[in-house]
């Protein structure tokens, strides 16, 4: 994907916006694909620090607003830009693990 430019989240990533974003994430059924806590299900994890289409504010906004191939719906017609930015705030506030927890068998 090309760089998403300099789109900036107009909302502060304070606890109120993050909490609002968490509620929208579940009420808009995002967790139905990305799992509770966005840890991955049919859709990939959004909290493992790895991004198919970029993890900046602007890239996340574009992914949610326009959708992505392989099933990510376009929420631009359903949610206001403000609501999408709050989801971005929620996702960006999640701690990213230092390493992805894969298994090594003894």
């Amino acid at each position: 994907m090309p760089p998403a430019g300099d789109l900036q989240n107009p909302f502060a990533t304070d606890s109120t916006n993050v909490a609002d974003g968490s509620k929208i994430f579940s009420s808009m059924n995002c967790d139905g694909c990305h799992g509770g806590g966005a840890t991955g299900w049919v859709g990939p994890s959004l909290v493992d620090g790895r991004w198919r289409y970029g993890g900046t504010d602007g890239a996340l906004f574009q992914s949610i607003f326009y959708g992505r191939p392989k099933g990510m719906p376009a929420y631009g017609g359903i949610l206001s830009p403000g609501a999408i930015w709050k989801i971005v705030s929620y996702i960006r506030a999640q701690p990213v693990p230092v390493t992805v927890p894969t298994e090594s068998w003894k």
């Binding site: 991955g40 790895r50 099933g71």
Partner: protein
């Protein structure tokens, strides 16, 4: 690990001459998903026996180039084998007359990739069906196609489903006479479930029958024919208009009785999982429906799990057999439900004859034989106001998955099926329907059931409702099965073994490591050289795409932690589709 018991009783053996007299000699082909109209997955070929099965060896394999879950089975028509892959739904035609079985052609349909995210549980496909010179199958994005079996040219393509409404189409179409019968997935997307009858010659949709709603939309005519339901039961057993988004997908298998002129199929779960958004019995979700293939008319229905609280879809196959039940020869239908009970019904009327648990069950104490209604343990009932309900068995993967079709041998009188030994906790939450997004509302972690073995392959006596033998497996058993006139039964495991067992005793005869977990269904056919072969797909996926943890390595942005309840599974398998052929 297996538990042999004596051979089937004399009563069963006595009926064999009658049953064998009604079965035509096997033509060596496999032209529909479940082998025959009765959905037996029984092969009349007998070269492979319990005595020589240990000498089976791999003769051929082919990588499909696709990583999704390889459910379903190949077809063999004449001297050609046909294979449909998961999304992007490539159709391969292999020439069995030439060394190495080279491709005759392949058909590459244009499938909308957005469908991948609308499919609840991996972008799988359950196979094709052959009739009248055509290979007919479904694309994931809501289209049915008919392809010329000789040259791979597309003959027709019909849109049957709408991914914008959460409908996808991984099921294998069924053909009864000149009707192609199809249905949608989407029980987790708030669809309004249906089946459609298409004209085999043109692909034109001739009828659409919904599984709930007003009688006019269910094609139900109470008081006429033998329809057993009350008027508008598809509305009165729901609250408000909740039936409009109530699920009842049709993603499993069909069977057909030409004498009764009835097709049989199961419907899936009601949506959402949060029961409190849909008070009532929710007919006809989690049910078997008997319809006329010509016009779709509903003749009878029976609901296995009213007001489903646990995602107990009833999409598993309905196998047709003639069995002596209670001293009388009956035309029956046998069904292994996700809810853990195996049912034997009179297939002319829907009368319940036998219902006994084949797996560990905690949600019900039994099935009332007179009313046909389960005796539910209400402490296991779920709902948003009931918090986290623990200790529910089976899990929502089912005592058996509908994705793992069973087999029936008229020689042994036994049914052979994969089973799961998993339990779950279930925490429901309110959810809003947004078309094209999941409509679920539950968190449901699993754990192994009693004994710790997460699966078992069993032989079942459906006349008496009891297990005859079982082979315990470490992981859930998620493959279909085939049983042969050589009295050998085949199945595969999630950790990538393909196995043969003695159909009479459950004695294990042979196994081979096929390269990825098996979620497909084996077939047996006679090659152009006159020899008997067995074919199976390897390629873990389906629900196990979601559950296995890190078994995909194609996407650097998608690295998953190991499965919490089966962390060892990833040690034995990764994704990858392979077609295998075995012989002596």
């Amino acid at each position: 690990m297996h538990h042999p018991i004596p051979r089937p009783t004399a009563a069963l053996l006595l009926v064999l001459p009658i049953l064998q007299g009604t079965s035509p000699r096997d033509d060596g082909q496999w032209t529909m998903p479940a082998k025959d109209y009765a959905a037996t997955r029984y092969s009349g070929l007998s070269q492979i026996t319990a005595a020589n099965a240990p000498k089976l060896r791999a003769l051929w394999s082919f990588s499909t180039g696709v990583l999704g879950g390889h459910e379903g089975q190949p077809l063999v028509v004449g001297s050609t084998m046909y294979v449909v892959t998961p999304f992007p739904n490539v159709l391969y035609a292999f020439d069995l007359t030439r060394e190495g079985y080279p491709l005759k052609w392949k058909y590459r349909p244009d499938v909308n990739p957005s469908a991948v995210g609308i499919a609840c549980c991996d972008a799988i496909n359950r196979g094709a069906v052959y009739a009248d010179g055509k290979i007919v199958y479904n694309l994931l994005d809501g289209h049915t196609v008919a392809v010329d079996a000789v040259n791979g040219r597309e003959l027709w393509k019909t849109q049957i489903a709408d991914i914008g409404q959460g409908e996808t189409t991984p099921m294998a179409p069924f053909i009864a006479g000149n009707r192609v019968i199809v249905g949608p997935s989407g029980g987790e997307f708030g669809i309004y479930g249906w089946v459609k009858g298409l004209d085999l010659a043109t692909g034109k949709i001739l009828w659409t029958a919904h599984n709930m709603g007003p009688d006019s939309l269910m094609l139900a005519r109470p008081g006429r024919g033998s329809y057993i339901g009350d008027a508008n039961i598809g509305v009165s057993t729901w609250s408000g208009d909740s039936w409009r988004r109530g699920g009842a997908p049709v993603w499993g298998w069909f069977s057909y009785d030409p004498q009764l002129d009835l097709i049989y199929f199961g419907t899936g779960n009601p949506g959402p999982y949060n029961t409190e958004q849909r008070p009532g019995e929710n007919k006809w979700t989690n049910s078997v429906l008997a319809r006329r293939p010509g016009d779709g008319a509903l003749v009878w229905a029976y609901q296995f799990t009213p007001h489903d609280s646990w995602d107990y879809d009833s999409n598993a196959e309905m196998i047709l057999a003639d069995l002596v039940v209670g001293g009388r020869m009956r035309k029956v239908l046998v069904h292994f439900d996700k809810n853990g009970f195996a049912y034997t019904l009179d297939r002319a009327t829907g009368e319940l004859l036998v219902a006994e648990p084949f797996a560990n069950v905690t949600w019900a104490k039994g099935i009332n034989r007179t009313t046909g209604v389960p005796i539910v343990d209400t402490t296991k009932t779920t709902g948003a106001s009931r918090g986290n309900v623990k200790g529910i068995c089976p899990s929502l993967e089912g005592g058996k998955s509908p994705a793992s079709p069973s087999a029936y041998s008229p020689r042994t009188g036994l049914f052979y099926t994969a089973t799961n030994n998993l339990c779950m906790n279930f925490e429901a939450a309110p959810v809003t329907r947004i078309p094209g997004t999941p409509y679920i509302g539950a968190t449901t972690p699993y754990y192994a059931g009693p004994g710790g073995n997460m699966g078992e392959f069993i032989a079942w006596d459906a006349a008496r409702g009891r297990k005859v033998w079982g082979i315990k497996e470490k992981f859930p058993v998620w493959s279909g099965s085939v049983v042969t006139a050589g009295d050998v039964v085949f199945y595969g495991t999630l950790d990538g073994w393909f196995k043969a067992a003695d159909a009479r005793t459950g004695r294990q005869l042979w196994k081979f490591k096929v390269g990825s977990g098996v979620v497909g269904a084996p077939i047996s056919f006679r090659g152009p050289d006159g020899k008997q072969y067995v074919a199976i797909y390897a390629g873990i996926g389906g629900d196990w795409f979601l559950l296995s943890g890190d078994v995909r390595s194609d996407d650097p942005a998608d690295v998953r932690p190991p499965a919490d309840f089966a962390a060892e599974l990833g040690r034995h398998t990764s994704q990858g589709g392979i077609v295998w052929i075995f012989g002596l």
